[in-house]
């Protein structure tokens, strides 16, 4: 099979990111003190890839003999993941300098992770799902342990790697069983067979393993054990991209396999997903209340958010699927924004990560206070911010799919969650800061990233149709 021009055009965005990553890696090896240069190179590459994804968006199809999706769905996720990558770059440069680990390898690994995520969300074949997942995961294992002199960072990396390897094993075994029973790894082919005759029971074992693997990657209960330690131990901007880009990629593949290919997987799979969703929402929300460390609180909150998104999947109707995509966009902006503010407040040696370190911040530093409040209120789901509409769509989908109980669990969990998001606001505005508290200077790139995220949260909240009109025709 020969590679045609349309094949290359189909993977243009992923290609640009991968090539940029390779060039950046070489630049890091051959040039001294090249971290800044590599960062700008990476930013340029991702901006180019974003333009490519935008340009190919209208022409949806497949490339490389139906192995990979081009345009449409893949472009949408490409743009989303690139946004996460760009924001991470902007936030990381000052953070790394502050922590004394500004090496070009950081940017290179983020670029590889981004390319893996994009590949995963463009998969038309289970092999591509696996390939993308591995590129992403291996990069993230390294990034989690990037602060190699810090115990918690190493712990995060090791834990993520060991548990992640298990999940990869699940996934691969599942793919093998599906291939064995269906005779193909092509998602379209699987869909055809699935629709024509009921699959053998061994297929369901494979699908179950696959489900477990995806649930691990999105951080849903009962596969959530790694999330708190990894998010807490990783460098803060890495937690940001892990929780947003990583989640988006995993959900993209999840949707492709279980919704597009298996049509929701039938009532049993939907019930199982609904149970996962309910458990995640409740567990995440309840445990987050007890946290003192902000990063750990956000980790539990991210488990809860995985639950909200799974609600949309469990509903398995078009509103739910579009709702998940909207939710992912909203979540990317608000969560990267929150981690961004944390990374600015944080001091070397893991200091200033507790709630009490935010006392009086709102009045002392109005900019940080206001953007942080916007992100937190959005996470809490207060209209008219993006987080509200995300929750609204998935809960509406659940009601429409006669899963009203799930919607009730969801809204109750989100009321609980308001408590811990608001606690940060309480500390920022209602508590007096310590005498002579230092005013942190906000770096230019970081404030650009925070402004962009805040604008995203408000913008797509007030005009939700801007995202829905992009995603409406995917399903």
């Amino acid at each position: 099979m020969s590679v045609t021009g349309s094949d290359l055009l189909g993977i243009l965005a992923v290609g640009i990111v991968s090539v940029t990553a390779l060039i950046a890696m070489l630049a890091g090896v051959f040039l001294k003190n090249s971290a800044r240069l590599v960062m700008w190179l990476g930013l340029a590459g991702m901006a180019g890839a974003f333009a490519a994804a935008w340009g190919t968006y209208p022409s949806a199809g497949t490339a490389f003999g139906g192995m990979i999706l081009a345009g449409g769905y893949a472009s949408f996720f490409g743009m989303l993941i690139l946004c996460a990558g760009i924001l991470t770059f902007l936030l990381a440069s000052d953070y790394l300098r502050k922590e004394g680990v500004e090496y070009p390898e950081f940017y290179v690994m983020v670029l590889f992770a981004v390319s893996g995520m994009m590949l995963m969300s463009a998969a038309a074949d289970l092999i591509i799902v696996f390939l993308g997942l591995e590129i992403m995961s291996v990069s993230l294992y390294v990034l989690a342990g990037f602060m190699r002199r810090r115990e918690k960072s190493i712990e995060a990396s090791l834990k993520y790697f060991l548990l992640g390897a298990f999940a990869t094993g699940f996934l691969l075994y599942g793919i093998a069983l599906i291939y064995g029973t269906m005779g193909t790894t092509d998602l379209a082919g699987i869909a055809l067979r699935f629709a024509s005759a009921p699959p053998p029971s061994l297929f369901w074992v494979g699908a179950g393993l696959l489900l477990g693997g995806f649930a691990f990657k999105v951080g849903a209960v009962p596969f959530h054990m790694w999330v708190p330690d990894v998010y807490e131990g990783s460098p803060t901007p890495v937690s940001g991209i892990m929780s947003t880009g990583g989640k988006a990629a995993a959900f993209a593949a999840f949707l492709l396999v279980f919704v597009k290919s298996l049509g929701g997987g039938g009532a049993k799979v939907q019930t199982l997903l609904a149970i996962f969703a309910a458990l995640s929402m409740v567990t995440g929300a309840v445990i987050a209340i007890a946290q003192k460390n902000l990063k750990r609180m956000l980790a539990y909150s991210s488990i809860a958010h995985a639950g909200y998104m799974l609600t949309g999947l469990a509903a398995a109707n078009q509103l739910g699927e579009s709702g998940v995509l909207y939710y992912l966009v909203a979540y990317t902006f608000m969560n990267i924004g929150t981690f961004g503010v944390i990374s600015l407040i944080e001091q070397a040696e893991e200091k200033r990560l507790e709630f009490s370190d935010y006392a009086g911040l709102g009045l002392r530093q109005p900019f940080l206070g206001i953007v942080m409040s916007i992100f937190l209120f959005s996470l809490a789901g207060i209209p008219p911010l993006a987080g509200f509409f995300g929750k609204y769509y998935v809960f509406a989908a659940a009601v429409d799919a006669h899963m009203t109980w799930l919607a009730i669990v969801g809204v109750l969990a989100s009321v609980v969650s308001v408590y811990y998001y608001l606690r940060v606001v309480v500390f920022m505005y209602f508590h007096e800061g310590p005498e002579g508290a230092e005013v942190i200077s906000v770096p230019l790139l970081g404030s650009v990233a925070l402004l962009l995220s805040a604008a995203g949260v408000v913008g797509i909240g007030v005009f939700p149709s801007s995202i829905l009109s992009l995603t409406g025709w995917f399903f």
Partner: protein, 548 residues
């Protein structure tokens, strides 16, 4: 009819004028506290002028409630409309505003109380700009709730009001402000998610026909005859018509258990705001910790949003469920009246006493609504307005004394009548209005509510009437403890009420006196709508069946 200024409808102006003012405030330099105060005053004054225009041009003969034609100052535009999406039929949310005799008085009340609240906020010194910006945002949220006729829009305003309130209590409040702010927020949010769930269930059960040419809602039969594809809708007026539900859907039909559940969910959401026992515990905390002007807004306007929600949303959409639950609702009203009064009697904190008296007085509104006859509902709506003005006065009065003495302990005062004669004069208007003295506005509305209730629930009303005695008891006792007797040595130097404080209190006192002597201007405004609502909710047979 519609009424436009610069091509934009008057209700939009009323609602968004404060936000425009807020944006202007944010542009002012940080140091210019006085400019911030005056801008806010001018903005809220303009809002009062607009509300007065609404009052003047308000047609007294239109009923509203369940017909678009009966609504006044209607504005309608498409807010979110996605036609191309295959799923979901079509997403259609309207920017739909209009008022009738139920919301009209509330619009007047909101404008008035917001204006008075700005005067009462004059002595705020901490982060002045932030305070007034949030205050104006709160104003927009409150006004929006009373003019919205699309459920989604209603909900968004309902929530928009929450955030500024949270900060206003939490930053500018008293010593336990953090606890009070969070409690207020969580309680209200819990209520609003129940409203959200009911709203979703209504949306997915509805199927409404829209004329594709004109965009007007059609009757179900006419729509079917024209072969139009129905869509889901949040339109409150459309949802009141049982034929606008998809047959077989969750909330279709009459008197089904899922309709009862949806009614209860909505009820809890609104009851928290009223607050109706046992959902009232946030109120004393929030009122006591909030700064004076915010207590005024809370008691004056926010509590009314709960009973307004019952009248605008729950009852007309689920008249079947309401009829089934009328007696429990009346019982809750009576509990509110008695429990609030008894709790008020036990307080030694002046502000907490007023807070509990609010619970008692809102019970009268609930009782009047439960009666669902012309007297009862007129009394309830009128009581909403009167309670707004009277309680606002009471909180202002507490604020005056607290600003001077820095304590609210009732037993620490005495004999202030000689020391502060002007203050005592204004105070007595408010106190006597609150205990229902004839000649003051509170009497008229309480009498109407009880009159209406007596026709339906005789025993309950007789029990509730005890509340009047209790109210007189704690009000007079308070008056005695604070204003009569001997003046303690330490208060010998307390200055009398000043011009600014009088400016906030006097307009309210005038209204309380005027409406007490001549209530018709307000009653005429609500009459047609009250009758429409009563007829719509209780057809004659049902009213007869209700006999207690």
């Amino acid at each position: 009819m519609s009424f436009q200024i610069l091509g934009i409808g008057i209700l939009t102006w009323l609602t968004f004028l404060p936000v425009i003012g807020m944006l202007f405030l944010l542009l002012l330099p940080k140091k210019s506290a006085d400019a911030v105060r005056w801008t806010s005053l001018v903005v809220t004054f303009l809002q009062v002028v607009l509300a007065a225009l609404v009052y003047v041009y308000f047609s007294r003969s239109l009923g509203g409630i369940n017909t678009v034609a009966g609504m006044q100052f209607v504005e309608k535009a498409t807010w979110i409309d996605i036609k191309s999406v295959a799923w979901f039929g079509r997403v259609h949310i309207d920017y739909f505003m209009g008022i009738d005799g139920i919301s009209g008085p509330m619009v007047l009340l909101t404008a008035l109380i917001s204006f008075v609240g700005i005067i009462a906020s004059w002595n705020i010194e901490k982060a002045v700009k932030g305070y007034f910006a949030l205050y104006l945002l709160l104003d927009t949220g409150m006004m929006g709730v009373f003019v919205a006729l699309d459920f989604f829009l209603f909900y968004v305003f309902w929530e928009v009001m929450l955030l500024p309130m949270y900060f206003l209590i939490g930053i500018w409040g008293g010593p336990r402000r953090e606890y009070a702010a969070i409690k207020f927020f969580l309680y209200t949010l819990f209520g609003s998610v129940l409203i959200l769930l009911a709203m979703l269930a209504l949306y997915f059960s509805s199927s409404v026909y829209i004329d594709p040419q004109t965009g007007v809602f059609l009757a179900a039969e006419a729509g079917r005859a024209m072969g139009i594809t129905p869509i889901h809708s949040f339109n409150l007026i459309a949802l009141m018509d049982p034929t606008n539900f998809t047959p077989g859907s969750l909330l279709a039909g009459i008197g089904t258990s899922s309709r009862y559940i949806a009614f209860i969910a909505l009820f809890i959401g609104f009851a928290i705001k009223v607050p109706i026992f046992p959902f009232h515990t946030w109120l004393p905390d929030a009122h006591v910790e909030a700064p004076t002007a915010i207590s005024v807004i809370l008691a004056g306007v926010l509590l009314k949003m709960g009973t307004y929600g019952l009248l605008r949303v729950s009852i007309p959409i689920f008249p079947d469920a309401f009829r089934a639950y009328a007696i429990p609702l009346a019982i809750l009203g009576v509990i509110n009246i008695l429990y609030g009064a008894l709790a008020a009697m036990a307080q030694t904190d002046f502000k907490k006493l007023i807070a509990y008296s609010s619970i008692s007085h809102m019970g009268i509104v609930v009782l009047g609504i439960a009666a669902m006859n012309t007297q009862g509902v007129s009394g309830a709506v009128f009581q909403m307005f009167n309670h707004g003005t009277i309680t606002a006065m009471l909180f202002l009065i507490v604020g005056v004394i607290y600003d001077r003495a820095h304590t609210r302990g009732l037993n620490e005062f005495g004999g202030l009548a000689n020391q502060m004669p002007k203050y005592t004069g204004v105070m007595s208007v408010a106190f006597f209005a609150a205990l229902g003295l004839p000649g003051l506005s509170g009497f008229v509305s309480e009498a109407f509510s009880f009159l209406g209730a007596f026709a339906v629930f005789q025993t309950l009303t007789i029990i509730a009437a005890l509340g009047i005695v209790l109210t007189a008891g704690y009000m007079l006792w308070t008056l005695q403890r604070v204003f009569l007797g001997t003046l303690p040595e330490k208060w010998k130097a307390l200055p009398d009420i000043n011009g600014r404080e009088l400016a906030a209190l006097v307009p309210l006192a005038v209204i309380v006196l005027f409406l007490g002597i001549y209530p018709s201007p307000m009653l005429n405004m609500m009459n047609a709508s009250v009758n429409t609502l009563v007829k719509f909710v209780t057809p004659v047979t049902a009213a007869a069946a209700l006999g207690f």
